[in-house]
């Protein structure tokens, strides 16, 4: 059994309105920065156990589809790395 850490990036799909992104951009512009676009999304770190790297990758993808991301309006990407044997 290996202990793995996944880092997921979850962002709104292209074309889906991002009110948070536009409000943040407005604030940065009013603070004097020359900003042309801002997108705000989530990043989730999950530590979990898996038999192998392949299984770990499959598990994270499943977690994202079932719970962590909303497939209707969000896209997700992730990286997985082993962080040592479970003690």
């Amino acid at each position: 059994m290996g202990n793995y850490q996944a880092n997921l990036k979850i962002s709104l799909k292209k074309g889906v309105l991002d009110p948070q992104g536009s409000a943040t951009m407005g604030a940065l512009v009013s603070l004097g920065y020359e900003v042309t676009d801002v997108r705000v999304g989530k990043q989730i770190m999950v530590e979990f156990e898996a038999e192998s790297r392949e299984e770990a990758l499959a598990l994270v993808d499943e977690m994202a589809k079932r719970l962590l991301a909303n497939p209707v309006i969000e896209d997700y990407s992730f990286m997985v790395e082993e962080v040592g044997e479970t003690k």
Partner: protein, 651 residues
């Protein structure tokens, strides 16, 4: 034109031929899309329009009846209330959070577009049983979406209902109602009057949200919604919604605004064509002037976009800049995109080139009116009545389990997520028979309730429809409010099914009769058809949103016992009848065959008696006996009150 093209926009061959006849030529692709979206079931009411005529809509309080963005009623001393209900069933089944949030945004725009300050929101929700994970997901998402939009936009969500039944499996109902208050002189209508007047689009930028969203989606069965429609889900921005309310009401004070219309289903297409046809004028707009959020949008996409938080303003010639200044203060776009003409045409330009030109009335008035075939289940084939199960001996256990059933249990988990106090006018919040909002500077209070028992209308659409109106009125009466008008959401299955059309017809006949007997006008509402999944249609669900008036809000009463020692009396008889009851459904999972005895004249007398008793201070608290029956009603009065118990004699 090849059949594929007009079928793709949802039109039949007959409808296409009628368009060619109206135009005297074949429509180009954009014109075809305009007809496709405006003649959809959702926008044209083509299967329901002939029946909606049955509703009584006259009354000395009615300032604006059906046909406008919202109905408006006179409540005396120069004050008026605007009311409307809307359904967002299809979008919420796809994305519950945004589906519900945009439903709240849309219904609020219908109110302040009349010049009224929105003061209350109610949500009436129906889901499949909570034993299914999907229904829990939809339920949580819808409540969070309403909480997210309503709280942020600063309008209190003061009431509503939640109901679970297997008939809503895969097809949730999200009906939202809004009420606004205005001085009569500030009333403004959705009309493009005054040739040469400027037409502005204000609020959010236009994107590809919801293209073919509400209009086509709501006109197809649930499982037919093709996947590519899903990314076009509309996203609501309550912050911009709040700015839009403040900017619109401030702009209306300039007196330069002639007409206002919300951009809802079918976006700019319906707003432009409806404001023109209501005023009998024409409208010319240039889509290249519409502020956009995405590059490379085609004229079709701009005309059909259902991006949220946008309104159409018709402003006196030369005064557009004054209005734009106000919108700039509120950090909102306001762009002049055209002007009013007198040729009755909706003319659309893309820069110089005219890309579409159709008579506005052809889009809004000439949609076919279908008298779809109907079938009414005759009394005898229902005679094979289901034998009522043997009644149990121990009732305590039954009462305890009923009190815990999702339909009867406290809904505090839901409404504690809503800010029902913002604006500091909520005299009675959720949990009462009706909500009450006071009007500062007057003694008046507005009582509001939403009701609709779909089990009753399933058993007998006619009686069920009448009872929906009666129960909504009864709830308003129980707090001391005199019912003065209603709005509605008629949620029914597939109109191409004879039995469903029969239910629709009978329910409206029943509602219309109750309105006449109780003297309550219908001020408008919404029809949601095609609520069907894999051939399974939902129960016929006519949802009634009732508004009542308290001349003196201090005379209101709640639904909890106030003092021990007070007498408890039942107005009206309590008969041995279990048809359509929560008991039968929850314990035996059956509806039963016959409805409780219902007599409209009796209902009227009971309501008058209750109103007078409250007005004369004799009645200290009142509660209507509805789902769960007498035992549940008394239990609720104990929970909501200060007394510890109640002694009841059954003789």
């Amino acid at each position: 034109m090849s059949e594929a093209l007009y079928v793709e926009v949802g039109l039949t061959e007959g409808e296409y031929e009628k368009i060619v006849e109206l135009l005297g030529r074949e429509p180009n692709h954009l014109e075809l899309e305009l007809f496709g979206v405006m003649w959809s079931e959702h926008c044209s009411y083509k299967s329901s329009r002939v029946h909606l005529g049955l509703f009584p809509t006259e009354g000395e309080r009615v300032l604006v009846g059906p046909g406008e963005n919202a109905g408006v009623l006179d409540i005396g001393d120069g004050w008026a209330v605007a009311l409307r209900a809307e359904s967002h069933n299809h979008p919420s089944a796809i994305e519950p959070f945004q589906g519900a949030a945009t439903g709240v945004g849309g219904i609020l725009r219908d109110i302040f577009t009349m010049g009224a300050r929105p003061v209350a929101l109610l949500d009436s929700l129906r889901f499949g049983p909570l034993t299914y994970a999907r229904n829990k997901y939809l339920f949580r998402g819808v409540v969070a979406g309403i909480s997210h939009y309503g709280n942020s936009v600063g309008v209190p969500t003061v009431g509503g209902e939640v109901f679970f039944d297997r008939s809503y499996q895969g097809n949730p109902l999200v009906n939202v109602m809004a009420v606004g208050v205005l001085r009569k002189e500030n009333l403004v209508k959705g009309q493009a009057s005054g040739v040469g007047n400027e037409i502005l689009i204000v609020g959010a930028k236009t994107g590809r949200d919801g293209i073919h969203g509400a209009s086509l989606l709501a006109s197809r069965e649930f499982n037919e919604a093709p996947l590519e429609m899903r990314p076009a889900v509309q996203v609501g921005d309550p912050f911009m919604g709040k700015l839009l309310i403040e900017a619109t009401l401030e702009a209306l004070e300039t007196g330069a605004v002639v007409g206002v219309n919300d951009l809802g289903a079918a976006g700019l297409t319906s707003a432009a064509s409806e404001t023109a046809s209501r005023a009998g004028t024409g409208v010319e707009i240039d889509v290249s002037l519409v502020p956009r959020r995405e590059e490379g949008m085609t004229p079709d996409e701009v005309m059909l976009s259902e991006s949220q938080e946008r309104m159409l303003f018709i402003v006196e010639q030369g005064k557009g800049d004054k209005v734009r200044e106000i919108f700039r203060k509120w950090q909102l776009d306001a762009a002049r995109i055209g002007f009013v003409t007198d040729d009755g045409m909706l003319r659309i330009r893309d820069g110089k080139e005219v890309v579409a030109q159709v008579p506005a009335a052809a889009l809004t008035e000439s949609a076919p009116v279908y008298e779809r075939p109907m079938e009414f289940p005759k009394k005898e084939d229902k005679e094979v009545s289901v034998p009522l199960p043997k009644l149990p001996d121990g009732y305590g256990e039954i009462l305890r389990s009923l009190l815990g059933s999702p339909n009867l249990a406290s809904k505090a988990w839901v409404y504690n997520q809503y800010d029902y106090m913002v604006r500091a006018d909520t005299v009675m919040g959720p949990g009462g028979d009706a909500a009450i909002i006071r009007i500062k500077g007057t003694d008046k209070g507005i009582a509001i309730s939403t009701d609709g028992n779909s089990r009753y209308t399933k058993i007998d659409p006619f009686l069920g429809g009448a009872m929906a109106v009666a129960e909504a009125a009864r709830n308003v009466v129980c707090v001391g409010g005199r019912p003065i008008g209603l709005t509605n959401c008629l949620n029914f299955g597939n109109p191409e099914n004879k039995e469903i059309m029969g239910q629709f017809r009978k329910a409206i006949e029943g509602m219309a009769l109750a309105c006449r007997v109780l003297g309550i006008p219908v001020t408008g509402g919404n029809v949601s058809l095609y609520n069907e999944t894999q051939g399974e249609n939902i129960n016929p669900t006519p949802l009634v949103g009732m508004v009542g008036l308290l001349e003196d809000v201090s005379k209101r009463v709640g639904n909890g016992f106030t003092k021990s020692g007070n007498l408890i009396c039942l107005i009206g008889e309590n008969l041995e009848e279990l048809g359509g009851s929560e008991y039968l459904s929850y314990v035996y999972d059956i509806y039963g065959n016959d409805l409780p005895v219902f007599d409209l004249e009796r209902e009227k007398e009971v309501q008058e008696f209750c109103l007078r008793g409250i007005d004369e201070g004799l009645i200290k608290s009142a509660h209507d006996v509805s789902d769960g029956g007498l035992a549940i009603a008394i239990a609720e009065m104990i929970f909501n009150g200060r007394a510890k118990g109640a002694a009841i004699s059954m003789t």
